[in-house]
Subunit: 343 residues, 2 copies
């Protein structure tokens, strides 16, 4: 028995090393909520919520006052019955980043009690994963320069943000493949293209002999027919991100055959929904990647353990903690760029 | 020009005259948030949010800290450009009750400035609407007694809560039609049946010569195939409520042909989504009803004006303000049971 004695929240603000820019806007800081779970026996579990107003509608200031309600719901529950706790925390579907932090903190406390890392509680499929790093949106030159820096840091998968200007986006990709050799590219429009632009973009790249691993979320979140059109008319795999915020939306997209990849982000859906999406996608032969919002190393730790535990993700876009100023590294993993090691 | 000068929030708690019981649980109080918008010229607009954690995942304590963010987004905007303000407030999709209160308060301030009631800003289709009143879930005897009281009060449409015991629910309906003559019944399972139970329920009623106007939300919110099955196998119209929380879910249900009726509740979706759902449903020949969460007269006022303005709702389940203890009636409508009058 490891009964939950207390759950406490702490607000943390981190500054990005340089402003993070994507098609819908720019972020200079990330506001996160740390969740600490203490059990009667003194085990401590930590989780982190990094809400995205744009994607899930959550605001950090709305999470803070939920502390007492969360205690009311979870106090006295046994961390060993974590599936039961997942069921209770599933009611926080409107606060998915908080749901994640709670669910992970439960697993983390259990991990401390069992002296078994979370990724092994979840199955221990892998002991290392490789992450990409992201190039913010900007001019052709800005993006090429940033990609060159990322390549020099040692990353072998580079994510490029696009969506403000179709022709400049194509030119950016041309310059990148000219100047940087031996990397894979993930491209992300963050909802900013229309379906036809997305098809032009991918067909043009193909014609020019440029290969990309996948194009993420070309079209607006709710345009599932548009997403499907892009999937069936593009020479490269298409991933859904903003369109797939929870397991119900994942099922819909799977039923529609609208994507080649699903980008799971814990901050959109929690661990319980992530587990469901993994099973559905695997069964339906849809590939998986895992991404992040503005998590610190504490929050990225959650996705690292989930991914290593399950071993099902083709690509990892777990770079937010590499892009913010943090006093102290708090992940239960080791970094040797471009890898995260669990042992 | 009537520029927004200030938006302020006030928390209000109301006690139900008697605890309100439905299949998923019981409520003794309702916690609402009042929104006041003041313009530079001194016009004041009021709105009310009554969040439902069960249905939309919102918590009242999460709305309160959003006051300064809301001011930041809306200060200086002109209430006459209310469609522009609706677009901004659409970003609060995770806080739909707050979105409603903001959107209505804008219309209310504009109404004050124009000396034109909100229902006429919205089209002025009707000058009176008829509401039902709701029988809480309980034993057969409890429900019959409560329905008799409601009938004596003068209501001609009675809503009956079901979902804990199929046989008792059928028995309740039998007793009701035996003892009360000249009323219409709406029946609401609040997600508590499975599809087969829902079909048995409606077929049994039909065989016994009992007519109901519609059965609301027989099955769990995300079981749209189950909802469709019930629709196509039941002799009475089927309404979706918990399954349809916003315009995107409405479109999905319409595409699937899963319901005969949509129950619009402003607290689920805001005025902007309600307007979209109305147009889609009318176009698709799907009927409409309008319901409520725990609104006081201030909040019910919002739905009364929307309904009278548009004139498209077959049934009104706008009874929450009749079921709570309120010091002062604050609706801009008059009550003569079972009608609400706009003039």
């Amino acid at each position: 028995m490891a009964k939950i004695k207390r759950i406490s929240f702490e607000l943390k603000t981190y500054e990005y090393i340089k402003p993070f820019r994507i098609a819908p806007g720019t972020a200079s800081h990330t506001h996160n909520l740390e969740v600490k779970i203490e059990t009667e026996e003194g085990y401590i579990g930590l989780g982190e919520a990094s809400p995205s107003f744009r994607v899930t509608g959550e605001r950090i200031e709305s999470l803070i006052p939920l502390e007492s309600f969360v205690n009311e719901l979870l106090k006295g529950k046994d961390t060993k019955n974590f599936r039961k706790i997942f069921e209770i925390t599933d009611k926080f579907f409107a606060f998915p980043s908080l749901k994640t932090a709670l669910q992970y903190a439960i697993l983390d406390a259990l991990s401390e009690e069992l002296s078994l890392p979370v990724y092994q509680i979840l199955g221990g499929a892998k002991e290392k994963i490789e992450t990409d790093k992201t190039v913010s949106i900007g001019s052709v030159e800005e993006r090429v320069r940033e990609a060159e820096e990322i390549f020099k840091e040692g990353f072998k998968v580079i994510k490029v943000k696009i969506g403000l200007d179709l022709r400049e986006d194509i030119e950016t990709m041309e310059e990148l493949v000219k100047r940087i050799k031996g990397v894979k590219y993930i491209v992300d429009a963050n909802t900013a293209y229309n379906p036809k632009q997305a098809v032009i973009f991918t067909k043009e790249l193909y014609k020019k002999g440029i290969d990309i691993e996948l194009l993420e979320q070309p079209v607006p979140a709710h345009d599932l027919e548009g997403l499907k059109y892009v999937r069936f008319n593009s020479p490269f795999p298409i991933a859904g991100d903003e369109s797939i915020k929870n397991k119900y939306e994942a099922l819909e997209v799977i039923k529609m055959e609208a994507v080649d990849y699903i980008n799971i982000k814990l901050m959109k859906c929690g661990i319980s929904d992530a587990l469901a999406i993994v099973e559905m996608a695997n069964t339906a032969n849809i590939k998986l990647m895992i991404g992040c919002m503005g998590e610190s190393s504490l929050g990225i730790n959650q996705s690292v353990h989930l991914s290593a535990g399950l071993g099902v993700f083709e690509f990892h876009d777990l770079d937010s903690a590499l892009m913010i100023k943090e006093d102290k590294f708090r992940g239960k993993y080791k970094i040797r760029i471009p890898y995260y090691y669990l042992v």
